[in-house]
Subunit: 187 residues, 2 copies
């Protein structure tokens, strides 16, 4: 690959991005990752997760610091509002994944971005989780993501969003589901 | 309902919890909620969400403050590690939802908790999102949640975890999926 005049585009180091792709093509085990979160109950619906270590590129790694996040329910749902609800963190995860993908795809395609913002709305009927109806699901009934994206040609920008959607990890999990095993050590 | 000696159990105000259930039974529209997150791209894979307003109990409401969260990729994934990855926030959401449910279900059943902690592990093969294989999905291939729970009788504790799983909003979305609509304003 020849060095281009602007290896950094949209804040993405495209030279490193393409080098990483080449490295993975050469040894696909590099791509096997395990991400983790640990959580501890505090009181009532308030609990706190720590995100630090993960496995990837054939080694144990850590983020530059342990990141901690509080989750809770608001008073209307009998909580103390020490943090967002778990279902709101899910919306954040979806927006963040699609947006990171947009930046990467745009950089790889040589498309410049000046703004990417989004609003994610999830509709949920709490009759499900409250156990008041067996006909209402527990989770969101639908989620809508509304992007505003500015930069180069609008058609190119729309195509970038679509490609991000096609390769988004969180979009895949949230739309298609994934098996979840729960193990309990009750002492 | 008569007042019990301990209306607060596990930090859950059970009197208010049961009163809320009664109110929803009387007017099921109270249970229709919409949660939201807004996200703004910062640079590269770094972006930031704000979680503040939501709709519920037939009115617009806000959390006590706007909560903001940074997401990013670590250097091994060509990011600047300004926050966890989006897929890690998904694990946090899952742990937080199950744990809040455990606290509520235990309180409703009169079961005392002294500890609830969990580790969530998600296995993902990045050949999918890197676009290097069409046979590998983009998202997690499996997720494992390992709970340590202490308090009253272990059989009761295990039953509480199971009931939380049966009524968890995030568990439902992550295992069963939900339709996601993406709207793009490309200017």
């Amino acid at each position: 690959m020849t060095t281009t005049a602007s290896p950094i585009r949209n804040g993405v180091d495209t030279a490193t991005l393409f080098a990483t792709l080449d490295a993975v093509k050469g040894d696909t085990d590099i791509a096997k990752f395990q991400f983790r979160a640990t959580n501890r109950w505090v009181s009532g619906t308030h609990n706190r997760s720590t995100i630090h270590g993960f496995h990837g590129a054939k080694q144990e790694m850590t983020h530059r610091e342990p990141f901690t996040f509080d989750a809770d329910h608001p008073p209307v749902l009998v909580g103390s509002d020490k943090g967002p609800t778990p279902v709101e963190f899910l919306l954040h995860a979806l927006a963040a994944c699609l947006t990171a993908g947009i930046a990467n795809v745009a950089a790889a395609r040589g498309v410049n971005l000046t703004e990417v913002s989004s609003t994610v709305e999830g509709d949920i009927d709490l009759l499900g989780i409250l156990g008041l109806s067996d006909d209402v699901r527990n989770g969101y009934q639908q989620i809508k993501v509304s992007f505003v994206i500015r930069g180069d040609d609008p058609d190119k920008l729309r195509s970038v969003v679509e490609q991000s959607r096609r390769r988004s990890a969180v979009f895949d999990v949230v739309t298609n589901g994934v098996p979840v095993l729960i193990d309990v050590d009750a002492g």
